[in-house]
C-alpha cells in the first residue's frame, strides 16, 4: 500500500487520461455506426456482407492494429490519434451489428403509422426510428464502452500512456499493488461509464426503464417463468 499512498496523483492523472482516450472512440463509434446500421437494415442484401466485414475487423488483435495504422494513415507512431482511431474501428465494428438490430427492432406498424401521419424520412428518423431503436442502441453502447475502456490499456505496449502503464511499470519494479491498482481503476472507470450511460439512457428515453422493459415484457409473456417459480 506504500506505493498507492505515494502515487495517488499519478493514479488520478492516468485515470483521467484513460477516460479521455476512451470517450472519443465510444462516441465516434456510435455516430459512425448509426448510419451504417440503418443502411444494413434498409438494404437487406448489404446486411450479411457488412456484418461479416465488421466482424472481421474485430478479429484483428489490437496490438497489431496499433502498429498497422500509422503507416496506412500517415499519423505519428506514438500519437494518441493512433490509439483513438484503432479503438474507434473496434467500436464501429461492435456497434454496427447492434445498430442494425436496433433499427430492425422498431415495430414496422409504428413506422407505417408515422408515414401515414406524413412524417418524411428525416423527421421519421429523429422522431420514430432513433428513439424506438434507442434501448438496443444503448445496450450496444454499454458493451462498447466497457470493452473500449479495457482495450485502452493495451496501448501502453506501443507507448501510449493510460492506466495500462501501471501494468508494465509495476511488473518491472515488482510492485503488485501497482498492477492491482491499474486493474481496479480500469474496472471502476468502465463501470462508472456504464452507469453513466444507464442514467443518460433514462433521461433520454423516459418511456423505457433502461431497456429492462423488453425483458420484463418477455417474462410476463412466459408461462414457464411462472411454472419454474
Amino acid at each position: 500500500m506504500t506505493w498507492l499512498s505515494r502515487n495517488i496523483d499519478l493514479v488520478l492523472e492516468l485515470t483521467l487520461e484513460h477516460l479521455w482516450l476512451s470517450l472519443l472512440p465510444i462516441v465516434a463509434g456510435l455516430i459512425i455506426a448509426i448510419p451504417l446500421g440503418q443502411l444494413a437494415w434498409r438494404q437487406q442484401w448489404l446486411r450479411g456482407p457488412m456484418l461479416s466485414l465488421v466482424g472481421l475487423l474485430y478479429t484483428i488483435p489490437s496490438l497489431a492494429l496499433f502498429v498497422l495504422l500509422p503507416p496506412i494513415l500517415g499519423i505519428g507512431y506514438l500519437s494518441r490519434a493512433n490509439l483513438i482511431v484503432a479503438l474507434t474501428i473496434y467500436a464501429v465494428a461492435l456497434m454496427t451489428r447492434f445498430a442494425s438490430d436496433a433499427f430492425a427492432s422498431v415495430d414496422s406498424h409504428v413506422r407505417q403509422a408515422a408515414v401515414a401521419m406524413g412524417y418524411d424520412g428525416w423527421r421519421r428518423f429523429w422522431a420514430v426510428d432513433l428513439p424506438l431503436a434507442g434501448p438496443v442502441l444503448l445496450a450496444g453502447l454499454r458493451v462498447v464502452a466497457v470493452s473500449t475502456v479495457s482495450l485502452v490499456t493495451v496501448g501502453v505496449l506501443v507507448g501510449i500512456r493510460s492506466l495500462g502503464f501501471l501494468f508494465t511499470d509495476g511488473l518491472q519494479r515488482n510492485i503488485p499493488v501497482e498492477i492491482l491498482t491499474g486493474i481496479v481503476m480500469t474496472v471502476v472507470t468502465a463501470l462508472a461509464l456504464d452507469a453513466l450511460l444507464v442514467l443518460l439512457g433514462r433521461w433520454l428515453m423516459p418511456w423505457s426503464r433502461d431497456g429492462r422493459g423488453r425483458v420484463a415484457a418477455r417474462r410476463r409473456r412466459s408461462p414457464r417463468a411462472a411454472v419454474a417459480r
Binding site: A64, F98, D101, V146, S147, T153, F167, A228
Partner: protein, 242 residues
C-alpha cells in the same frame, strides 16, 4: 501496399519455417493455449449456463459477472497473475486469464440458447411427463445448441485474440512476432504475424459457422425452434479483441 507485399515475402521466406521460432511452432503454441482455455471455459460455463437457462434464476448475477469480466484488462490480469505465481507457472497464469475472458461468452450463449426455446414446447414436454432433467437434456439442450456454439465461437475468437499477449510473459505463440516487431520497429515482421493471426481467426470463425449451420439443420425439423434473432446477435459482440 508495399508493406503487405513485404509481409507476404516474410511469411514465405524459409527462415520463418525452421527452428524454434518457425510459424508452425508459434501457431502450435497459440492453438494449444487457446484450445485448453476454450475447453476449460466450456467445462465451467456450459453447466452453469444450463442451470441459469433452465431455472431462469441467477441471470442477473451472470450478466453482472459478464459485464465485470469484460471490463477486466487482460494485460493487467496477466502481469499480476504471472508476478504472483512466478514465470515457471506462467502457462497456468495465462490459462486462468484466458478462461476468465472465455467464460462469459459461453455462459451467455448457453443460457440464451435454453431461454430461446419456445415455452410451449417446454410445457408440452412437461405435460408428457418428462422430468426436468429430461427436458433440459432432450429438449432445451439440442434446440439451444446453435446459440451455445455461437457462444463458443465468441469465446474462441476472444481467447485466440488475447493469446497474442502471452508472448509478453515468455509463453511464445503468434504474439511473439507482433511484440518483437513492435520492440524492433519491424513492421514487416509484425504485419506478417498479424496476417497469420487474422487468418487463424477467419479459419476458426468459418469452422464454427459450419458447425452451427450443421447443428441448426439437424434441429430445424423440431417443432418450435424459436431462436430469437435479437438474442442471437447479443451474444456475438462478446467475441473479440484484446
Amino acid at each position: 501496399m508495399n508493406l503487405f507485399a513485404d509481409a507476404f515475402a516474410w511469411l514465405a521466406s524459409p527462415e520463418q519455417h525452421t527452428g524454434g521460432d518457425a510459424i508452425a511452432v508459434r501457431l502450435g503454441e497459440h492453438l494449444l493455449y487457446s484450445a485448453i482455455a476454450v475447453l476449460i471455459s466450456a467445462a465451467i460455463a456450459v453447466p452453469i449456463g444450463y442451470v441459469i437457462g433452465h431455472t431462469g434464476r441467477g441471470k442477473q448475477v451472470a450478466v453482472a459477472f459478464s459485464g465485470a469480466a469484460r471490463a477486466l484488462p487482460s494485460l493487467g490480469l496477466l502481469t499480476l497473475l504471472t508476478l504472483f505465481v512466478g514465470i515457471g507457472q506462467a502457462p497456468m497464469a495465462a490459462t486462468i486469464v484466458f478462461v476468465v475472458l472465455g467464460v462469459p461468452s459461453v455462459l451467455a450463449g448457453t443460457y440464451a440458447g435454453v431461454e430461446a426455446v419456445d415455452e410451449r414446447v417446454v410445457d408440452a414436454a412437461r405435460a408428457m411427463g418428462m422430468t426436468e432433467w429430461q427436458i433440459l437434456w432432450r429438449v432445451e439442450a439440442p434446440i439451444g445448441l446453435p446459440l451455445l456454439i455461437g457462444g463458443l465461437r465468441s469465446a474462441t475468437l476472444q481467447i485466440v485474440s488475447t493469446a497474442v499477449l502471452a508472448a509478453y510473459v515468455g509463453l511464445g505463440g503468434l504474439g511473439t512476432y507482433i511484440l518483437r516487431g513492435i520492440n524492433l520497429n519491424d513492421y514487416v515482421q509484425m504485419l506478417g504475424g498479424a496476417i497469420v493471426i487474422v487468418a487463424l481467426a477467419l479459419v476458426l470463425d468459418a469452422a464454427f459457422s459450419l458447425t452451427a449451420w450443421l447443428a441448426e439443420s439437424t434441429t430445424r425439423h423440431r417443432p418450435g425452434n424459436a431462436a430469437k434473432p435479437a438474442v442471437v446477435s447479443h451474444t456475438h459482440p462478446q467475441e473479440g479483441t484484446s
